[in-house]
């Protein structure tokens, strides 16, 4: 079980996250919804360790990952909204930064994560020449290089075409099927079907939400 307890964060006078607590079952996908600027990315950034928190814990199997940085680095994979890639270099070069060696990359390209994401199609293409979908797939490929248990995805399908969305969705299904835990933020109605549980982040508070297919009701809740 993954547990987030009393997580708080403020920027200046604005309380972005106000004593947030929730639990996520391992091997599931959890979605965080909310309007723009409500703090979804801040929440994921804090869980990814790229942003400091005011207080709170993030436990995986009873270990607080915020205090055990080494464990955190091995357990958590993070795909931010931006492009965590080196623009001038090819997909292969970017993968080299995260994978232990060339052999591991080749294995993954043959029948592993990178094959599912279809990265071999653009292995030699520089990031600066890639489409948004290619960049996102490569970012995911880099984020899961160390086989994390928890994958944090900040709007993974934003501005992607249907094929690319489907590819990423397939990968996430496989990831959770193998026991991995996904926590994602999204504005995409299609992605809701991937999520076993949903939360709405509003005014710094996290509220559980059950999506019943009524889009207008969801908009009203946000």
């Amino acid at each position: 079980m993954i547990e987030i307890q009393s997580l708080s964060k403020h920027f200046g006078r604005k309380q972005i996250l106000d004593d947030i607590s929730f639990q996520v079952r391992e091997g599931t996908c959890t979605g965080i919804l909310g309007e723009n600027g409500c703090g979804k990315s801040t929440l994921l950034s804090i869980l990814a360790g790229t942003l400091s928190r005011d207080r709170g814990t993030f436990s995986c199997q009873g270990v607080d990952l915020f205090t055990d940085r080494r464990r955190h680095a091995s357990c958590v994979g993070y795909v931010p909204q931006g492009t965590p890639l080196i623009e001038e270099l090819s997909a292969l070069d970017n993968l080299r930064l995260w994978y232990p060696g060339r052999r591991e990359i080749e294995q993954e390209l043959e029948n592993g994560i990178l094959a599912i994401l279809g990265i071999s199609d653009f292995l030699k293409v520089p990031v600066s020449h890639m489409s948004g979908g290619m960049k996102k797939r490569l970012s995911i490929g880099c984020a899961v290089a160390h086989h994390p248990r928890i994958l944090l995805l900040d709007e993974p399908s934003a501005a992607l075409d249907f094929i690319c969305k489907e590819r990423i969705a397939n990968y996430l299904r496989q990831f959770t099927a193998q026991g991995g835990t996904v926590l994602l933020t999204t504005h995409d109605i299609q992605e809701l079907s991937l999520c076993g549980s949903l939360f709405i982040l509003k005014q710094g508070r996290l509220i559980p939400y059950e999506y019943d297919g009524n889009y207008h009701r969801l908009v009203g809740q946000l």
Partner: protein
């Protein structure tokens, strides 16, 4: 280590384009400077008053007077006197090739000597009644005054001597007065020493500009290469930090790759060294007696320039949040620092306060260091200041990176 090696790879990939951009940038600036110099010189030429001398210009005293006008600092940059016939002068005036002409009457000098001054006539077109014409009129007055008063003075002395009966050796005395006067005025180059305007009392102007050109080349690399080090999106760096590759290691890796970029360019410059040694070096006093081994020594002696300039450029790239602001910042800093440090004009042209400030700046210390290397002198305070900046810039860049990652 992987991050560092990938940074090196980025630099290698971007290197040809950066080198080309730098050469184009440096070439464009050189061309601009050349055109500016050409235009200034042309406009100066246009502002110069051209006058024709018509009439009795055969007299030796008049010839000396004209020579004086052509030689004196107060007049030689502002006027040109040319001997012409009246017809030629009139035609030249119609074509606006001259501003006017002076008609010197027959036996002008003799009339001056006898106290019956004939008037010099200044002829100019009415269409040219401009500031230039007014200046030309003033000049004509000055010519008349110079010719008449100077000679009148000398001959007044001659007359006074005759009246007083002091005629012994008078001719030789008059001749001596004239000669002494002309000896003082005409060979003016012997009246003063030429002081080479540079920041060091010993380095030649050519040597000085070799140092400034080299420093400017490295600084311009910053403009064309800064895009490699400007981070508008720190996503990757944040993730790296979360994985244990913190701001310090990131800064060291990126700073080292910035130095590597400068090193690559330095190697390209060094490849041109044999050409430079055969063509340009003989004209540079400090290098004229250099052997091949000396050039190798010089190559290694200039090495400290790389980490110092690398530090400056890397620091500037870390101060910027976007590519455009980064390029603009680097461009302005490079030009500003280059100017204050005497890369464009010799430092001795600047006020003493600016010279003192320059010595403390990284580029000023670099110029001082390179000049000392070229002269084969010991580097004292310059190397300490340089070492301070070389360590200081990456340290400042690290603080900026750490602050940005913590936000």
């Amino acid at each position: 280590m992987k991050y560092f090696s990938l940074q090196l790879k980025r630099v290698c990939r971007a290197f040809p384009a950066i080198l080309l951009t730098t050469l184009v940038l440096a070439g464009a600036l050189a061309l601009l400077a050349y055109l500016q110099a050409l235009s200034s010189s042309h406009s100066e030429e246009r502002q110069k008053i051209t006058l024709a001398l018509v009439g009795d210009a055969e007299d030796s005293y008049l010839g000396l007077g004209v020579a004086l006008i052509q030689e004196m600092d107060s007049s030689r940059f502002t006027c040109t006197l040319t001997e012409m016939t009246e017809d030629e002068a009139r035609r030249a005036l119609e074509k606006q090739q001259i501003n006017g002409y002076l008609v010197i009457p027959e036996n002008f000098i003799r009339s001056v000597m006898t106290g019956k001054n004939s008037k010099v006539t200044f002829v100019t077109g009415t269409s040219q009644y401009t500031v230039g014409t007014l200046l030309a009129r003033e000049l004509a007055d000055a010519v008349s005054t110079l010719l008449t008063e100077t000679q009148s003075g000398i001959y007044a002395f001659q007359r006074f001597s005759i009246q007083q009966g002091a005629v012994d050796d008078l001719d030789s005395d008059i001749y001596d007065i004239n000669l002494r006067y002309f000896q003082f005025v005409l060979p003016r180059t012997e009246l003063y020493d030429i002081d080479t305007p540079d920041s060091s009392p010993v380095i030649s102007m050519q040597g000085y500009y070799v140092c400034s050109a080299m420093l400017l080349f490295f600084l311009f690399l910053g403009i064309s290469g800064c895009h490699l080090f400007i981070r508008s999106d720190l996503s990757l760096n944040r993730i790296l930090e979360a994985r244990g590759f913190g701001a310090f290691r990131q800064t060291i890796a990126e700073y080292a790759s910035c130095c590597f970029l400068l090193l690559l360019n330095y190697l390209v410059l060094s490849a041109l060294l044999p050409l430079f040694a055969s063509k340009a070096a003989p004209a540079i006093p400090e290098l004229s007696a250099f052997a091949a081994a000396d050039y190798i020594g010089l190559f290694f002696s200039f090495f400290p320039v790389i980490p110092a300039v690398g530090g400056l450029l890397y620091f500037l790239s870390q101060c910027a949040r976007s590519l455009i602001s980064g390029i603009l910042l680097t461009f302005l800093c490079v030009l500003g620092l280059g100017y204050i440090s005497g890369c464009f004009y010799p430092l001795s042209f600047f006020p003493p306060e600016v010279q003192k400030l320059s010595a403390l700046l990284p580029t000023g210390a670099l110029m001082e260091y390179m000049q000392n290397v070229l002269l084969g002198e010991q580097n004292g305070p310059a190397i300490l200041i340089l070492a301070g900046w070389t360590a200081g810039f990456p340290a400042l860049a690290f603080l900026i990176r750490r602050r940005r990652l913590s936000r």
